[in-house]
Subunit: 336 residues, 2 copies
Amino acid sequence: MEIDRPYLLFLGDVKDQLAAKTAQGIVDWRREWCIGQLRLPNCGADCGVPDMGLEEAGAAGVRTLVVGVANPGGVLPEHWVGTIVAGMDAGLNVATGLHQRLADVPAIASAADRNGVKLFDVRHSHEIFATGNGNKRAGLRLLTVGTDCSVGKKYTALALERGMREAGLDADFRATGQTGVFISGRGIAIDAVVADFISGAAEWLSPEADPAHWDVVEGQGSLFHPSFAGVSLGLLHGSQPDAFVVCHEPTRTTMRNVSAPIPDIAEVIDMTVAHGKLTNPAIRCVGLAINTAELDNAAAERCIAELGDRYALPACDPVRTGVEPIVARLMDQFPS
Amino acid sequence: MEIDRPYLLFLGDVKDQLAAKTAQGIVDWRREWCIGQLRLPNCGADCGVPDMGLEEAGAAGVRTLVVGVANPGGVLPEHWVGTIVAGMDAGLNVATGLHQRLADVPAIASAADRNGVKLFDVRHSHEIFATGNGNKRAGLRLLTVGTDCSVGKKYTALALERGMREAGLDADFRATGQTGVFISGRGIAIDAVVADFISGAAEWLSPEADPAHWDVVEGQGSLFHPSFAGVSLGLLHGSQPDAFVVCHEPTRTTMRNVSAPIPDIAEVIDMTVAHGKLTNPAIRCVGLAINTAELDNAAAERCIAELGDRYALPACDPVRTGVEPIVARLMDQFPS
């Protein structure tokens, strides 16, 4: 799935900024792909790009109307369909990350046929995957793993891609979740793949490459999360990382949405190496990404320094301090 | 999915016994559910139950025509459709474990409507699963795990169910693969579940029960198999076993269909405990099921004795020697 760019971000009439977090993520990371935003009356979100109508967007070269919202039911509000159909009549493709498939809305399916435009259901892949084979592929790979869900694995991977490119490395972010797919224009929502094919999908996502090329793979879940560890393990085996970064939120005591305790960083490192060596015996941890959003500056600085010392690893907060220490470690340990 | 019994086994015109292994598994384990078999001309398989026509089967009380074959493409041969439709016209439900859905064959879909009979696609579940929550449920659970795929996890679980019942325990086999679903009349092909829901599906499969009741859960794959470890881990977390049995084939050197080496039994025990304790801190290994099919009697006896000694665990071959030592260990360690 490679979504045509640039994008016009459709925010509908969502009531607040949080509901537009997918669109906001795209703007944060791929400002240059976002020509504008289209908002209906009473929209409570603003992603800070020019407001724009469909005709104007078409004239400006927009290729895809991205429904950049997340809502609990994952369904498309009926009163948005008219605007989406008008977008297709103006020649735009349409993409969403909702559970509901665009083609299941009859007016959208017929408008797509009529105009010969494409529909992208980012949550659903049409790709036929093979089961994983575990064979080593050429190229270098980095995977972000976590002590929990929602600790910054996507953000860290994107920050590493940017930092590695600035340092002159050949690096590509590989998305494994819906927001990541929009940000990178490609990828797979790996939690939506049939269980038999998790590692096979991860192998497909990060194919054989130039020996000096880095794929920076967005991690999912945690090996210690009772809901999603299977996804995390299949992704680890299929990604066969040479290097991994542990992402951690230091103020949490139990894992997100369940009562299991947060594992120690050392346990995550050891377990990741224990499993990862099956498909890459050279796997190693190259740093810690500490999400200090809940701490003030002084506490954040202390926390990062203390964890870096304790585990003898480069530590940073990708948002607050940047990822330079981890990039430096990579340059040092993988000289090209 | 609870498949109506008893069954008439449809073997079509498969060319050999191996192609009828699903039907043979049902006969081996649930002879009393199998009223007969229906074979087309030139069928090369025979499951050793009476040959029977559709009318006769209906009169004998058969409820479901089971397409008991496995073929590589997983599709239904066109020249079988007539017999299947005639079965529905005779009042029978139809079940298959093929990838192709019965309702996707128009003649079968309309015959089901016309006769008000049920279609069971064992490989596909209509159940809406939640993501796993990791909470401890009442009841006891045993999971068979493996050093590899296809080492006897299903056979061991079924043999344990039988042995535990003979010893007076309240035990139920829980199927996680298509043949197991046919044998037990219920269950889920867990490798066909969407990745996000593996552990949730395993929780659904083995619900809260009487404190003395055992669910004997059929394992899948191996934590060390690069193709399927994600499925194995989600199944372990969701099953939250009190006890597990390691299934092992002692003559293999690499894992099935891949080049990864077979792990040591001790590694499998340690890794199963390391992950399993997340959802059941009391998890323990209660025995080894050694698949000695490739060894002669003397070598099998030596191998079982040696492995039992080395790991200080009850060891047996469920096919050759039965599972009594493991059942005895369960009675000893879990007094009711």
